[in-house]
């Protein structure tokens, strides 16, 4: 079980190799990578040149650990990993990685999906986008709240 905050890139293949090394009980590895995109869902046509992710050091680690603990309480996980980058990114740059290991596939899928949904609403990150018109802070999306809330009744 691990969480990491870092500026530099991550290597999914290497992370999975480390997590599964010498194990014979892992039947399922679910993973997710979130990548910076050029198209701007909120603002119409103007493409994103770059984005900067600011976070709250200390609280971020605390929240990621709390989210991970919640996932381990809900599903029988063998291991899980959250890596979240901060700093400046261009479209195509990977920003966040979640990996979950379980004996069974549905636990791996659901916990990975849950971790991403909770990350979006519970981890103190803020996104600032650069376009040709200038910079702006990205507004929170109601759809992210909806995505996180669908797990509430399922504990």
């Amino acid at each position: 079980m691990a969480i990491r905050l870092q500026e530099g890139p991550f290597d999914l293949g290497q992370e999975i190799s480390i997590m599964t090394a010498a194990r014979k009980d892992v039947g399922a590895v679910a993973s997710f990578i979130g990548i910076a995109r050029e198209d701007n869902p909120d603002e119409g046509a103007e493409p994103v040149i770059a984005m900067t992710l600011e976070h709250y050091p200390g609280m971020t680690e605390r929240q990621l650990m709390a989210i991970e603990t919640e996932a381990r309480g809900r599903w029988p996980l063998i291991d899980c990993l959250i890596v979240h980058r901060f700093g400046r990114f261009e479209p195509g740059d990977p920003i966040v990685l979640v990996v979950t290991l379980s004996s069974h596939r549905q636990a791996a899928f659901d916990s990975c999906n849950f971790l991403m949904d909770y990350l979006k609403t519970q981890a103190p990150f803020w996104k600032r986008e650069e376009t040709v018109s200038g910079e702006r802070w990205v507004n929170a999306r109601l759809s992210d709240n909806d995505a996180a809330e669908r797990w509430e009744g399922q504990h």
Binding site: G34, L53, E54, H55, Y56, G58, M59, R62, H84, I95, V96, M116, L119, K120, T121, Q122, A123, P124, F125, W126, K127, R128, W137, V138, N139, A140, R141
Partner: protein, 83 residues
Amino acid sequence: MKILYFAWVRQKIGLAEEIATPPTSVNTAGELIDWLVCLSPGHAEAFANRGTIRIAINQIFAEPEDSIVGVTEIAFFPPVTGG
């Protein structure tokens, strides 16, 4: 008490953090905002629409009515947009 600001709250106030000693009549996070808005036009602008402000007390999400008595760190920021 250390007060932290993030994202556009930080930009409007012009500070990432400040040490403040509010009067003893300030007991909740909401009352702290009432007091902060008088400090500068930047503070006033940052807190102009309070519904959009999120609060963390000692690094845990909190509400305006929550007590800040004895608290060492409080943060104000917009809704999060991570991942």
